[in-house]
């Protein structure tokens, strides 16, 4: 790549930069140390005139790489929006003058800070190229939907409405999933007063008449390989016929399995007059608006008890600890079946917390009360088959009494279990341990990292992020409906539409080589130098998104479309052969080396802060806006994720005389905040091994600190920096200043 790199350095003297800093000196530094071909100064760089000045140089072909010495890269992005040029922004405003006191004593160290940032900026662009997509995949406007229940049907219809083709795979012989087994469903629109049609036929009709949707019944996905934009999927029928189709993206709507009520032995599940909610739907379907009859003797039910949270919200062995979300409204709906058929039916819903949230839920609850459904706060301890019907023992929580009562029928509101396939993170069974049941894979991904989507809590494939419900750890594959989270039909239909949206987006963006969230729009992707690779597999193992496969010889195979561009692979590589066009071991390493290192006796320590660009770095900017000061000795470099930090940077920094190093990343562990899932955690693990390096160099281990910070740590990050400066003062300067 013998591309000529012509660096232009543009120094802004506005916003007080000209008063606080010697901008001529900055230009000189850019020329002499930064090897800038051209330098310019402007009193208001982000103004029309300033921007035009830069654009003129670009248009004239005088510069190919530009360094802006002005405000933070988070500010004035609309003004500094140049095309076809590599740009880096050195943060002289928020990163220097706003965090330093405006005093004569501070002037020298503040200037040194700014000088270094200019050197670093020039060093960085020198090692950056304009990213270009790999063109690994083209535009494939076909979407695969796995699961033909109400969620999958909705995803298919909504995607087709937007002009995309859909392959809809359903393992059963008909569409509709669990919803097809419902007599009626809870209304999702006003008036919220009575159960409504289950909606399955209407969706099925829309699908049958839709030329954009191909339905594969009695079929499963037996293999999925490739990446967004070029998924190759084997769809096999029960009889073993397999067709291979190509898709751009995937929605997994594999639904749920009802909890097995036979586990609730205290409720006599073997008794014919004790049913679960789906059991009641079957009875209601049979009755079809007439009197619902109890199974044991076909007597019309005169009294029915709904036991809420049966085997749910409980820590008992075999129970579900979570709430399934829909069951309160479902029991209310089912109580209405009885009241509609015969208003005199004694219908009792026994609950601890009745959960009907949102605008319509409360009205539906109220409507049941109006119809005479009784709601009792109580806990059922036992159901036994009585002579005239099930005998129920419960504790009435309002009256604080233990009560026994006979009902004709007992309905257990049991929960839902996600049908999420293979748990790829499950520990391998111990030797000799009996494996009772192997879950059937849904997607059969031909990924090194496992056959299915990683699961979150309780086996659901939810996103971990509150702000980003469709954040997925397998790019281009989105889950929707009760496989993602316990939910009702209304939410599942919304969820199906949202997932279809994301799948369409994945189709469009992968065709252009653009990254998915959170680095959406990024064109850079990792590549590796095969000659240097030792096939150690660390990159494939550590990739949080399962983006990297291995070829038969153990070399990594990057899949641009699956990659989220965090750089965790780059941080993992012990031989440093992985890089992005504009982000590499060199683009950061050379910044570290570019800092002018004062000798040991000058008593001017140098501290390095590698700050996550998503949270730590913005927090530092905001500290500056709030005029929180911190040490002038620090040099901060934003990184894509702490996971991208290669330990060579630390070793090099220590060897070149830095006195202290701080890694500032996001929260790790169970409630991780890391936008790249494992980046921060992996960085912590890697850094726990840096002690060896420190002891080899005979350096104190306090010189390197890894911190979990948040974007709100506007006070704490400056404190961490200042404490490191104090530590260095205590333990002394690094002897490695040459």
């Amino acid at each position: 790549m013998a591309v000529q790199k012509d660096i232009g350095a543009y120094i802004c003297s506005g916003c007080g930069l000209g008063d606080r800093l010697d901008c001529d000196q900055l230009e000189k530094v850019a020329k002499s140390d930064g090897r800038a071909k051209l330098t310019r100064q402007h009193e208001f760089l982000c103004s029309k005139a300033g921007v035009e000045m830069i654009q003129a140089d670009i248009d004239a072909g005088d510069v190919s790489h530009i360094v802006l010495g002005a405000c933070s890269r988070r500010a004035k992005t609309d003004a500094f929006n140049f095309e076809n040029v590599v740009m880096t922004r050195t943060n002289l405003r928020e990163g220097v003058i706003w965090v330093r006191p405006d005093t004569d004593e501070a002037r020298e160290s503040t200037q040194e800070m700014a000088d270094d940032y200019i050197r670093m900026g020039c060093a960085e662009v020198k090692y950056q190229d304009l990213p270009a997509p790999s063109q690994e995949q083209g535009l494939n406007r076909n979407m695969l939907v796995v699961g033909g229940g109400i969620t999958g049907m909705t995803s298919a219809i909504e995607a087709a409405k937007a002009g995309y083709n859909v392959g809809l795979v359903e393992k059963a012989g008909h569409l509709g999933g669990t919803a097809a087994a419902l007599y009626k469903r809870v209304p999702e629109r006003a008036p919220y007063s009575l159960p409504v049609d289950n909606g399955v036929d209407s969706l099925a009709t829309q699908i049958q008449g839709n030329p954009r949707i191909t339905v594969y019944l009695n079929s499963t996905v037996t293999k999925t390989s490739g990446a967004p934009g070029r998924f190759s999927v084997d769809i096999s029928t029960e009889s073993g016929d397999t067709t291979t189709e190509n898709f751009g993206a995937i929605v997994q709507s594999s639904g749920f399995e009802p909890y097995d009520m036979s586990q609730l032995t205290e409720f006599s599940p073997e008794s014919p007059d004790v049913v679960d909610q789906l059991g009641l739907e079957a009875l209601a379907k049979e009755a079809n608006g007439g009197a619902i009859k109890r199974p044991s003797d076909a007597k019309a039910v005169e009294s029915v008890l709904f036991v809420q949270c049966a085997g749910q919200r409980s820590e008992k062995e075999g129970h579900l600890s979570y709430c399934s979300g829909h069951c309160c409204a479902t029991s209310i709906k089912q109580a209405m079946y009885f009241k509609q058929a015969n208003p005199d039916t004694d219908t009792v819903v026994m609950y601890t917390d009745l959960r009907t949230p949102g605008a319509g839920g409360e009205d539906f609850y109220r409507s049941a009360q109006k119809q005479g459904v009784i709601f009792t706060k109580g806990e059922v301890s036992e159901v036994t088959p009585g002579d005239t019907g099930p005998l129920v023992k419960f504790n009435d929580l309002i009256l604080d009494e233990n009560v026994e009562q006979n009902f004709d029928l007992v309905v257990l509101a049991t929960g839902m279990l996600p049908n999420s396939g293979v748990n790829i993170d499950a520990p391998a069974p111990a030797e000799g341990e009996e494996v009772t049941e192997t879950p059937v894979s849904i997607l059969n991904l031909d990924y090194r990292q496992g056959k299915d989507i990683p699961q979150l809590v309780h086996g659901f494939t939810d996103s971990h992020f509150i702000c980003f419900p469709y954040e997925t750890r397998r790019t281009g594959i989105y889950t929707a409906g009760p496989v993602r989270r316990p939910m009702d039909i209304k939410q599942a239909m919304d969820d199906a539409t949202g997932a279809a949206m994301k799948a369409i987006q994945a189709i469009e963006n992968s065709s252009k080589g653009l990254a998915a969230h959170p680095r959406s729009g990024d064109l850079s992707f990792p590549s590796f130098r095969k000659e240097g690779c030792t096939q150690c597999k660390r990159c494939t193992v550590e990739c949080p998104f399962g983006a990297i496969n291995e070829d038969e010889r153990g070399f990594p195979q990057y899949n641009e479309g699956r990659c989220r561009r965090c750089g965790t692979c780059m941080g993992a590589c012990p031989v440093r052969v992985i890089s992005f066009a504009n982000y590499s071991v060199d683009s950061v390493g050379q910044q570290i080396k570019a800092v002018d290192m004062p000798d040991e006796f000058e008593e001017k320590p140098r501290l390095l802060a590698l700050a996550c660009e998503n949270d730590a770095y913005p927090a530092m900017d905001m500290a500056a806006m709030n005029k929180v000061e911190y040490s002038a000795y620090v040099r901060a470099i934003p990184v894509r994720c702490l996971g991208s930090v290669n330990t060579i940077w630390i070793t090099d920094a220590l060897n070149s005389g830095y006195d202290g190093i701080m890694l500032l990343g996001c929260q790790k562990g169970e409630n991780y905040q890391c936008h790249f899932v494992k980046g921060s955690e992996i960085a912590h693990i890697r850094m726990s091994k840096i002690d060896d390096t420190l002891s080899q160099l005979q350096l104190e281990k306090e010189r390197v600190g890894t911190h979990e910070v948040a974007i709100t740590d506007v006070e704490r990050i400056p404190q961490i920096i200042n404490e490191m400066a104090e530590t260095v003062q205590k333990i002394g300067m690094s002897p490695f200043k040459f």
Binding site: G14, C15, G16, F44, S47, R74, A75, K76, T77, D78, A79, N81, E158, K161, A162, E188, R189, Y322, C323, G325, Y351, D353, R355, T356, P357, G358, A359, G360, E362, D363, K377, V457, H458, F465, I466, C467, P469, P486, Q491, D494, T497, G498, M501, K502, I504, Q505, H517, P518, S520, G521, D615, P618, M625, Q667, N671, Q673, A710, I711, T712, V714
Partner: protein, 428 residues
């Protein structure tokens, strides 16, 4: 003049909170032309005023930073602040939308250096902090405000302070003659993400929000906990600045109540569970939280969070709709009166501070909005085919938590795309 090019293949998103930002971004990241309108000077909406999210107790600004970065990277997504829709006419695939843009008095030259703010002395109620403190008349609404551009309070126009601000600006960004503008946009579809507002707590007379200093709302508590908020992150009571170690939470304050909001606002149970962790965060074992509730609606896997809070010995739950709050004149302590329905016991419990878990109502009641759209009796937009190319998203469509609001917004983005794709197909 504001120059905006829009066509019937443009998607308009009204409201720049997390739902609107999401809808706009998801559509824009599909390559669509999108205009995002926000009536306030900054994007961010209600979540920018929250200290933490439940159930992870993470910070809303973390997600906002990502969303803002996504917005900054998109040339096909245009943001207009201080903009309100005044009229919508036309049909699916071809709407004409009148937009009123209020003057910011600060143009795009602004570098957010803060010189104008330093120069003025006039102060006004700080709406970002629910008026619990004051802000300058030349101000950045909050540190992460976007666009990162100062605002001159209209009340300052014509005063010496306004002139001082103008003189102080080194880049000529302040234009005191800026006037209201009215523009018309032609768009294919519209996503309404106008969000929610807290129910007016003063209307719940028995709880004395308007009479007692130490009765506050849940949204105010969020601002108090923010280190950049009105109390600098201190959990203190307004009457005397004493640390509020014993906090009572009254659930369904204005919700599930025929006299107020009939619906359940969904978020308030989880919000109070979350806020009980604030008491622990500040005071450890010395803190005490009491939650007065009807039902704890911690649905689906939120249940985990409820169980976690429940296992905290400093948090108590009383099943009761509080009847009234009175004030102990000597101590300033609010006293909660009512009946514990589990066992029917009367109580009169004093606390340091009472937090009303106020309900959620739509910011714009769509029964009375400048657009013809089907809404339910609570004022939320209904998903009705009659709405053509107009769609509700987030809390404009229902009382939703953040996660569900974003889910809803993502779905709306697709619905909006369907309309403009059909327009594109027809025009091909």
């Amino acid at each position: 003049m504001t120059d905006v090019v829009a066509t019937n293949q443009t998607i308009l998103v009204v409201g720049g909170g997390i739902s609107g930002m999401t809808a706009a971004l998801e559509a824009a990241e599909c390559g669509k032309d999108v205009i995002l309108l926000e009536k306030n000077p900054s994007l961010g909406g209600r979540v920018s005023q929250l200290y933490k999210y439940f159930p992870k107790l993470c910070f809303p600004t973390c997600g906002m930073e990502i969303n803002l970065r996504r917005i900054k990277a998109r040339n096909n997504l245009r943001v207009m602040t201080l903009a309100e829709v005044t009229k919508v006419s036309g049909d699916k695939g071809n709407y004409s939308v009148d937009v009123k843009i209020s003057p910011r008095y600060v143009n795009e030259n602004c570098t957010a250096c803060g010189a104008c703010s330093d120069a003025v002395s006039a102060e006004f109620d700080n709406e970002h902090n629910y008026n619990l403190d004051k802000r300058k008349g030349a101000y950045l609404p909050f540190t992460m405000a976007f666009p990162q551009r100062y605002v001159i309070d209209p009340a300052m126009i014509g005063t010496d302070d306004a002139a001082k601000a103008k003189d102080a600006c080194p880049v000529g960004a302040i234009d005191l003659d800026m006037a209201e503008e009215n523009i018309q946009l032609n768009v294919g579809s519209v996503v309404w993400a106008t969000g929610w507002k807290p129910y007016d707590a003063a209307k719940i007379q028995p709880y004395g929000y308007d009479r007692f200093d130490n009765v506050i709302t849940s949204v105010e508590l969020e601002r108090m906990m923010d280190p950049q908020g009105p109390t600098g992150g201190k959990l203190i009571r307004p009457s005397d600045g004493k640390e509020a170690k014993d906090v009572a939470f009254i659930q369904c304050a204005g919700s599930r109540d025929r006299n107020h909001l009939r619906h359940c606002s969904r978020i308030c149970c989880m919000a109070s569970l979350k806020q009980s962790t604030y008491t622990r965060e500040k005071f450890g074992d010395e803190g005490k939280s009491t939650i007065y509730y009807i039902d704890i609606r911690a649905i689906d896997r939120f249940e985990d969070f409820y169980q976690k809070v429940k296992s905290d010995s400093t948090v108590n739950f009383i099943k009761s709709k509080v009847a009234s709050v009175v004030e102990d004149k000597d101590t300033g302590n609010p006293i909660l009166k009512g009946v514990d329905t589990e066992g029917y016991k009367r109580y009169a419990n004093p606390h340091d501070l009472v937090v009303l878990a106020v309900g959620m109502e739509p910011s714009v009641n769509f029964n009375d909005a400048p657009v013809d759209i089907v809404s339910n009796e609570f004022g939320f937009i209904e998903a009705n085919p009659e709405n053509g190319g107009l769609f509700g998203a987030g809390c404009a469509s229902d009382a939703l938590d953040v996660n569900r609001a974003v889910q809803s917004a993502t779905a709306s983005a697709l619905r909006a795309i369907q309309v403009v794709n059909q327009v594109a197909e027809a025009e091909d």
